[in-house]
């Protein structure tokens, strides 16, 4: 039983890492075909990728969209969770349902709805449009995480601060936010990850300036080349490095 468990674990890791391993290995493929046989290592695809103006611009765009949309989703979600956790408002069940609703809808539908709506009002496809879409998908996430994290303990502290004469903004900033720090961090980074990797909304709502997944998609459609593997591996390595840094700095402190 015990041995079976370890075997299962090993097999599961094998399955989970199989495509990533192949991806990284063949990003060093010498030749145009990223499939076996492996012709020996080269880093020329990495040089290609790093020298690609559009790809690097897309990477920056993705960072901007992810940071901005996560920040907006976080603020909106935080305020809403504060409001709904504080008092029983009439219709608060409905409001909660409405705020969560986008989570139960396919991204494609959200994208299509926004595309026709933006067309209708004459807003051109842009990074801004994609960012608005990303706030829509990340707001429920931020709200749910923060709402679940709020408790009586923190409400008491807020009430005490208000009784002492602190303004609403000061209470939110100096009392609520610090007490919810782990949840805020989790919500922000989760949103950031979702936005960073989101394809279909960004694909339908951007035009010239596109995000990284969209740029990778058009790379993937325009020619067979291990450069696709190289950019995939780069994204992976950078994300993992970031994750490790966060794990040892921000989150470690939070857990204490």
């Amino acid at each position: 039983m015990r041995v079976l468990g370890w075997i299962y674990l090993a097999l599961a890791y094998g399955f989970i890492f199989l495509p990533v391993g192949a991806l990284v290995l063949f990003s060093f493929q010498d030749g145009r075909l990223p499939v076996p046989p492996f012709n020996g290592p080269t880093v020329k695809w990495y040089a290609d990728v790093l020298g690609d103006r559009d790809l690097m611009a897309a990477l920056v765009n993705s960072l901007m969209v992810a940071a901005a949309s996560s920040a907006v989703a976080l603020v909106l979600g935080f305020l809403a969770a504060q409001g709904l956790a504080r008092v029983a408002l009439p219709g608060s069940v409905v409001m909660r349902g409405l705020l969560i609703a986008p989570m139960t809808v396919s991204y494609l539908i959200i994208a299509l709805g926004l595309l026709s709506a933006f067309n209708h009002i004459g807003l051109r496809p842009s990074l801004m449009a994609a960012g608005i879409g990303h706030v829509v998908i990340n707001l429920p996430l931020c709200f749910a995480i923060l709402f679940a994290a709020m408790g009586a303990h923190q409400q008491n502290a807020e009430r005490a601060a208000r009784d002492l004469g602190a303004s609403e903004l000061r209470v939110l900033w100096h009392v609520s936010a610090p007490m919810l720090r782990p949840a805020l961090l989790a919500a922000f980074f989760l949103s950031f990850t979702f936005s960073w990797d989101e394809f279909i909304i960004a694909f339908l709502l951007t035009r010239f300036d596109v995000t990284l997944p969209v740029e990778i998609w058009s790379m993937l459609r325009s020619g067979l080349s291990p450069a696709t593997n190289a950019i995939g591996s780069l994204v992976f390595l950078v994300s993992v490095a970031l994750l490790v840094v966060l794990e040892f700095t921000v989150f470690r402190k939070v857990r204490k």
Partner: protein, 355 residues
């Protein structure tokens, strides 16, 4: 307290720093081009951008309907130039989106005569577009795996000999055109009346094939030996793989093949019509033509014969420069369906995919 703000602020500050570092030097002007993927190649755009101190923004589209839909959704003046299927120039002119061009400003005298395509690029005697690149949708194959003689007859694909070794290129117009040729229907004769005769052979073709795929998936399948034959393929698909696998080849079978030709036009509402026209001039110049012909997305024959002086011999060999006279005589232009026929063709294509 300050720790609280750290991640958000750091993330934003970090982003700002990256933006500042990575933002390229801004060019003085911008040109917005609605294009096919071969025009997105930096090697093609760079000489023009440098010469005119302009940044060329590109947006790719597939299929004329989608391209026209993008125009519909844009504000007037959003676009400066557009690449479009030569046979569909009329559709765009009908909507009044293109500006007239003076053919005298372009090197029409250096064109392959079959490719000036006046009947398609002009309406009522006014020219609205110029052809820029062409090639064939035909049969591409791996000559190490198939009998080359079989490839001279399209009927081989239905013979059972290559079942499970065929890929279909995922674009309904050329492939349905080819299936039509196999049934003795010329592309210009394709109509609602005889469209149904294609259904059965199309379904049988699907049954005999392994996949219906876009450019890269088709290239992958052909190059890795998953399939041996690709219907709808041609030099535009095999040329970039030539150095990897010289066995990848293409031919025009006895039933004929489809000639694809792309045109480029200046938009009527362009904010910068002079620069747009300069771009078109660059694209049809020998230098631009050679770069376009060997663009990283796909290769294709230049329409301007003078590009032959810029291309090297091996490139010309891959493009079959010397055989064009024969090929052109045996190829037909794409079908030009009206809206209803187009809808029926697409619907039949979807039905075929769902078989």
């Amino acid at each position: 307290m300050s720790k609280t703000r750290f991640p958000l602020r750091a993330a934003l500050a970090g982003t700002a720093a990256v933006v500042t570092l990575a933002a390229p030097a801004m060019a003085a002007e911008e040109l917005n081009a609605l294009i096919w993927c071969d025009h997105a190649d930096a090697d093609l755009l760079k000489p023009f951008e440098d010469a005119h101190d302009v940044r060329v923004n590109t947006k790719e589209y597939e299929g004329t309907a989608a391209g026209l839909a993008i125009l519909d959704q844009s504000q007037p003046g959003d676009w400066d130039v557009m690449v479009i299927d030569a046979v569909d120039v009329g559709r765009a002119v009908e909507r009044g989106v293109f500006a007239p061009l003076d053919p005298a400003e372009f090197p029409m005298g250096d064109y392959f005569p079959e490719l000036t395509l006046d009947s398609h690029n002009s309406v009522d005697g006014t020219t609205y577009a110029v052809t820029e690149k062409f090639g064939y949708n035909t049969i591409a194959f791996n000559k190490a795996k198939v009998d080359e003689a079989d490839m001279e007859d399209m009927g081989s694909l239905w013979s059972g000999k290559y079942d499970g070794k065929i890929a279909i290129y995922d674009y309904y117009l050329p492939v349905m055109g080819l299936v039509g040729l196999s049934q003795g229907v010329a592309t210009k004769d394709l109509s609602a009346a005889n469209l149904e005769t294609l259904r059965d052979p199309l379904y049988k073709l699907k049954a005999a094939s392994r996949q219906v795929s876009d450019v890269v998936a088709s290239q992958t399948a052909l190059a890795t030996g998953e399939v041996d034959v690709l219907i709808g393929g041609g030099e535009w698909l095999t040329a970039v793989l030539h150095s990897e696998n010289p066995d990848l080849d293409w031919t025009i079978p006895k039933q004929g093949a489809l000639l694809w030709a792309q045109s480029i036009a200046v938009l009527k509402d362009s904010q910068n019509p002079d620069l747009a026209k300069e771009f078109v001039k660059y694209i049809v110049s020998p230098e631009g033509q050679a770069r376009l012909a060997t663009s990283s997305c796909y290769w294709g024959m230049p329409v301007n014969k003078k590009a032959g002086e810029v291309l090297d011999d091996s490139q010309k060999a891959v493009l079959r420069w010397d055989q064009q006279a024969d090929y052109l005589s045996r190829a037909q232009l794409y079908p030009v369906p009206d809206a209803d026929l187009d809808a029926e063709m697409q619907s039949m294509w979807t039905d075929m995919l769902q078989q």
